[in-house]
Symmetry: C2
Subunit: 191 residues, 2 copies
DNA sequence: TTTCACAAAATGAATGTTCATTCATTTTTA
DNA sequence: TAAAAATGAATGAACATTCATTTTGTGAAA
């Protein structure tokens, strides 16, 4: 089946990102990992560039889908916040390859201009929540960029530190401290 | 002079990071940019890998030196915080190439294990300040990793957004909002 | 059910290009 | 004039992509 093979190739790249790192990946390895011949990749993708870009699209779709699932439009913002943060962090903890791929993708030479534009696509779910929180006077009236950076930035750094064994983000106590700290950074103080 | 040429080569790489991007850089280009022959590079560096690693060392040294200069051990923490944040942000704003180099370096295949270990070297100045602040009961008693992530993470994200033209970090009003937000995230509330 | 013909899919060896590195030769320095 | 420094053409390895060939799938006819 055509779609199976396409997926197998994409997943192959992803596995390799973890095992050998983004820039040691070559088409022969991808082929081997996916269980196809090198030439076969070119039946499904125009070339390496398209392959990488499609993979990025796949990850964005999967990640955003996951995080948005945790967003309860009717419940309290604070609950949605917790659920979404957990979802995002756990997603990356379980998919280190997704994380390092996304990190590396930004500066990869494969990047089309069109993608560069939507390079903050992965922030859309957070952005959405911020807006709602601002309206409800629960979240500080700061520029969107600042609010986004106060959630996305720390998550990124924490994950990097986790994968560098500087901290253990799998511990729920650590997660809680971290989520709370970020919330306090963006929430209006109710004392 | 030997050191001049070494520096010229390192600076050449840096300029090229900006102009063509990390992964399009080849030794011929570096040579041309530095005004030497390709072979000359090998008189000063063992190879591309060493060249890249030395450059990282150079940047870390320069950056940390700059930021630590702003640290006044005798004055109030809050002032040091502001001065250091400003120093760090302005440094990267004026040296986009440094920023993108550091961002890309983490996942580059050149990275020796020994460097990977000290990959958070760039956080040492912040770390130092956190410690002092905790002692003075000015900064929250959170795990170091969390505190670090609440300052370093947002800075990274803001800079990325700035360079992607999503926000203008050169505006002092934006800088102030951002510095204050990060401070509130880590400081003990005095209300 | 088996056979055959044709198309679609897949293969992987061959190709051409890019590029890090080397080293015989030349230039500079002291 | 001899040593040190610099040069850049030559080398060879790595690797994306191509394409002539092989394999697999499909369905009509026997």
């Amino acid at each position: 089946m055509a779609q199976d093979k396409k997926q197998a190739i994409l997943k192959g790249v992803l596995k390799l990102v973890n095992r050998v790192g983004f820039y040691h990946i070559n088409m022969k390895m991808v082929a081997q990992e996916a269980g196809v011949a090198a030439g076969t990749i070119y039946l499904y993708f125009k070339g390496k560039e398209e392959l990488i870009n499609e993979l990025y699209k796949m990850i964005v779709t999967e990640f955003n889908g996951n995080v948005l699932e945790a967003y309860d439009h009717d419940g309290p913002i604070r609950d949605s916040y917790n659920a979404m943060m957990t979802q995002a962090v756990v997603f990356y903890l379980n998919n280190k390859d997704y994380f390092s791929f996304v990190e590396q993708y930004t500066y990869a030479p494969f990047l089309f201009k069109e993608y560069q534009e939507q390079n903050f696509t992965l922030l859309l779910p957070i952005y959405k929540m911020m807006r709602a929180g601002k309206k409800q006077k629960l979240i500080k009236n700061l520029p969107d960029a600042v609010l986004l950076s106060m959630v996305h930035g720390p998550m990124n750094t924490m994950l990097k530190m986790h994968f560098a064994h500087k901290v253990d983000l799998t511990k729920t106590s650590m997660q809680k401290k971290f989520y709370d700290a970020c919330w306090e950074a963006i929430a209006i103080d109710k004392k």
